[in-house]
Amino acid sequence: MKEGNNVTAPPASIPKPPPLPTPRPLQRARDAAYKFIGYPSRPSSPHVGVRREALTQGVTGKARYASLTATQNATAIHKTGLEINTIAINERGTHALLGGKEIFKTVKIEDGICAEEVNLRTAIRSTPNAASGKPRQTYSIDIADVAWAKGDCGDYVAAATSSGKIILYDLGHAGFPAVQLHEHFRQVHTVTFNPHRSTLLLSGSQDGTVRLWDLRDVRHEANSLQSKRKFSGQSDGVRDVKWSPTDGVDFAFGTDSGWVQRWDMRNLKAAKVKVPAHTLSCNIIDWHPDGKHIASASSDQFVRVWDFSHNSKQRALWEIKAPHPVMNARWRPSCESSMPHDNGARQCTQLVTAYDREHPVIHVWDLRRPAMPFREMAPYSSAPTDLLWHSQDLLWTVGREGAFLQSDIQHAPKVIDKRNLSSFAISPEGDVKFVTQKRKQRRSPKHHHPSIQTSNNGDSLSVSPDTILLSRSWADDSLDHSFLRVAPAKRQSRSESAAAMDINNGGPSMAVLPLGVIMNNRVSFAPQQSMIIGRLPYHVDPDVFRDLARGYTHSVKLTSSIDDGLLRVIEDAFDSNTQLIASAGLHNRAQSVKIVAFITLNHLKVRAKAQLEKKVETHEHPRHATGQTALSALAVRLLAEHSESPEPWPPSVQPVSTLTKQLAAMDSTSNVPTPLARPVSDANLSAAQNGAQLPDPDNDEQLTLPPSLTAHVQQVLPPEISFFNSQLTANNLKSLTGTDRVDMVRRWSIQPKVPLSLDPVDDKPKLQTHDSNESFSFMVGSADSKDLSSSLGSARHASDPNLLVVPATTVRAGNRSANGNTNEDVAPPAEIVEIRIASRGREHADEPSSSPRASGADESLYSLPDEPAQDLEEGKPFILVELLTELVKDALKAGDAQTATMLVTMIAPLLPRTHPLSHQEVEDTVLTYTDTYALMGFLPEEIAGVFDKHLQHTVMAGLQPLQIESIMSCYHEQLMSFRMFTEAAYLRKLAYPAYPAVYEDYMKDNTIHLKCGRCGKSVQNGMARTTCEGCSEKQASCPVCRLNESPYRGGMLMSSCMLCGHGGHAECLRQWFEDAKGEECPTGCGCLCSG
């Protein structure tokens, strides 16, 4: 109010203007008038098209009302076709002034009809002479901003041009510029008239100055009017200047470098408040109607609201993160507060933003919910160049397309209506949060506001009961229950609201509430939302999960034969798991694990017994089960088919050459594996000739009988096959010893093929003979469960290499002949018998080495050896595999990959190989895996090895490896999401190499970094440079030799003590501790490293 007085008595420096119009009576009451903007009563007039202008009331506020009926859409458009840069409105709100490079005119807007009124540009151009009578120079003016004076100067308009001139026009004498103000020497960005004293004009320019002009001098000094004041001191252009709506002498501007400053026009020296608001150029500022707050919008995509009523260091009170660089922003005219205790005072929390030229959308934001726009519209194809609010609901925009548009914001779509009102998220630990909100029923706007208000707080708002021709409610339209809620939930503190009331001492509840009063009560406006927080169904408790993951025993060390020790180990493992589960409170699960453990153990005992008996009865020879050979053989064959040229193969035999095709043609009979198992070596050597020789058509005909081994195993008596297997295995083993390593590997992978060449399947007599030889083929430490090296090692025990070479060749010969004459003769058995004898001799020689072999195989045992031929579970109530499958299924139903993994990893190796998968399934599985392994770059030999060691048993035991793989990878993912990396690594180790899905993703980018001992950061450059980038500490040298390389050979290999952390060259340390008998750390730290 002090400032207000000062306005009426201007500072001495401003000359007394001679022709000052007589002050109107109401100006004397300006003190009060400044403070309220608005009307004593809400416009309830139902008359359409009648505007109630603020001016008729003599209030010098900005409040204008367009009386619109609730359903009316007051959108109006005026097309000019010329690019419009800027728009201004006269005080009465009836006319718009459009300015642009080629346009400068006023438009009258009434009842949604726009009509051009004064075309200043044509008037100027049609006036050939300047006011002086001299010929007017023709040049185009590029108008950057226009302003329309208020009050008694209402005929004057000002246009800022890019050349730095400000031209004033009197609309009554449109042809002549009233005056040109030319002191800015760079582009003028903005001009604005003081809302309280309309003779004061401010202009802001690129040259970094703001100038104040007094138009009272115009009539006399028209040609040499000089600015009254110059506010300089900015290094950058002034983008926007605005007078304060409440203080007549204050104004604010924003600059190109992002400063927003508030100045008092009487003080030239320094700004009252100066805030570095933005990092990029501040394109526009706008005063909140309360006169305290300023919204500033910038190219850095922020709209920030500042409190400019005090000069202290401050941050933005509120900010809106806009989606694009903001070029324009304006507060929406205030509306009635719907808080009952505000007594119908006015509030203003919304503003409209427009963006840079690529983004044509216009948003209306509400600071009470700044995360998303309230309404949205895109009237033009590019962004509007300027906009202003005519009244609370009517927004005027102009654009590059040359259209002036009056849009009714009530008809702009709400953003929230396009959004999903419910959302959920799941945390890695299995928490789920779900938020939803009731969507408001779409109603026609006429029922819209009254219904809400009456239903919610009929006590506070006096809405007239007639609804049909009701004039539009001027209440807060964002309180619609979906965007914001009407709920006086939190009582405002008395003092606060009393303070709010104090301001409007002039009139009853017509002042604008300070923004802070509304905003600090924001909580109560949160829309009503329901939220669910909880655990995912089927998701285990994270603590339990962690505990179990840490505690579970997943595997036991298997031995080649079932003895008491092994049984005890297994029992202990199961016991600890059961206890663990029980301690987690999962008694159900504990019980089932207990049962399955019991059955497993029983089964193992039975097996042990059977095994013992067999051993006692006959001196068994280790032999191969049929299936295991089958799988690797199948895989190798598939690989060979895949990689080698299939040309020599008759189409009937090899109808599908690629795996994908095979997969596609799952059930075609041609997919059936031919019993022709070509040894890989043969294939390599003479794939063409060998293949060509094969009487394949015959094969096809002949092998309509179960051609696959697995099927064979099930249907035909297993012993025969196993007999063949064992025979051939033994032979191969021997032959392996005679050849070099590569050859051995190859041979190893050949061996499985032999059973495939079992043509005698349909040869009854032969089967008989084999039957008699059955006794041969029992073996406990089956070679398949060992890796290559161990089997090679065992093979080395063979006494006489020379002797063994011969059988090898014969076997090969036999194989070939078998292959060649598949159906022609029955010769092979004889040979095989022969070989068997030879092998028998070897077997005896081998006897003592069986135990070392077994122990050597221990480490690499992936499954418990067993006798697939003998189904020990016959007649039992539970088949172990089926039990396991059911349990896994049950666990998976509950989403419990953890238990499923535990069961599978524990029991699968112990399963008997008596219930193999169906033939078709096996084939598909093998196909898939062969493909995968091949893609991963495994060599054919390695693939065969993997099949032998890992998948063979699983498949033969009746478990689907694909299922196990997916279970394990699921569990692995869970472990990773729980950040249990050790357990995950252990699981990967279990899965390697059979189940690529588990470990695949974690094989690639494992890197090892050294950790700096001082700062703890990883040393990125590795060993190349011995300094740490983090702390630039040099790596300590070896305390023994202090050299780069150890003098005791050893090279640069370092080792360190886990206790004291000191280290040195491994070789040096060895010297120190062993030879020099040092006990303490060589650095002398006193650590007894060696002890």
Partner: protein, 403 residues
Amino acid sequence: MRTLFSENILSPSPTPAPQSNPFELLFPSSISTASSADSTQSSPTQNEWLTQHLQNQQRTESETANQANYAANGQQAPNVRRKGNPKMLFMGLRRSGKSSIQKVVFEKLSPADTLFLEPTSRIGTVKMQSFITFESVELPHQLSATTPDFDHHAVFSHIGAVIWVLDVQDEYLTSISEMIQTAVFLAENYPRVNFEVFIHKTDGLSEEYKYETFREVRQRVQDELSDLGHGDRSVSYFQTSIFDHSIFEAMSKVVQRLLPQLPAMEALLNKLCSTCGIQKAYLFDTMSKIYVATDASPTFLKDYEVCSDYVDVIVDIKQIYGWHGQDGEGKAVSERRNQDDGDIGESMVTYDRSGDTYIYAREINDYLSLICVMGKGSTTNKRVLIDYNVGILHDALLQVFKV
């Protein structure tokens, strides 16, 4: 054809620099109308008022003597100060990146190589001979401006701008206090020297943090300066990093403030933009990638980056085919036309899939290029208009710089 400039625009006074008010040459109409109006409407009351007004003005000036002093200086600056080339002085704490900036901007050192620069111990001068000869001096940290035995006059008297480099990744509070000392010293002794602050090494900082520190530094310096009575002094702040275009943009703005021809060039570009539907026009010093002027529309770093990259391309090709246009400009999409005044180097490139927006480059002379980001609607069929207007701009610019 109606174009943005009347043909006689340059005739009244073709050389702007010696004039007291350089912009007047561009808009002679304003002077004439103003003077003519003056002659017609003069009245005794008005004269009375005039004297009154003058008295008032004098009073105001005496009131704010201090400030008016600066203001006057600033106003006359284009005439008085800096007869020669724009000269910049880099100051800042050690290892704040002064030498790096110099090397990267003026010597085209690769930013990554600045890691190996030795600390500077002596006052070093770097000169870049291009369209405008830039001269930059680096003051090593141990030489403080405020020490009494230091020959201020030798250093500061010829300087157009002092650039304080502040390492934002370091502890910057000490730097701020030294900076304020220097700023105060300059404000008191050399008020005509622009003071600029580079908040340097902002690469690698998060947006949030960047804004916070930027705001913090600005607010702090501003507060302290106003406490010391120099709150009116304009200090500009720039966030810079040698690893992106921000250092060039900041240097451009520093250089622009030292150029007396800036308003003229800016006005020319403004006109050109509004006539030809150009989104953004830059006048590049081709060698240094510094733009000496742009139009007044809001700048976006994106535009500058695109143009600057394009200048890089032009420079690269020029390095291959020579700087002088006689052998032809072997540019990406080049069109060569013959005009009266000889060959014109111009080229354009589209970077938008729709082809609506494209960049148009035109050589003003060997070391000055006009790069425009064309907006929608200024398609190639308007080329005649564009070419004509750019031709006029070309001539006008040459006139502007013909001293």
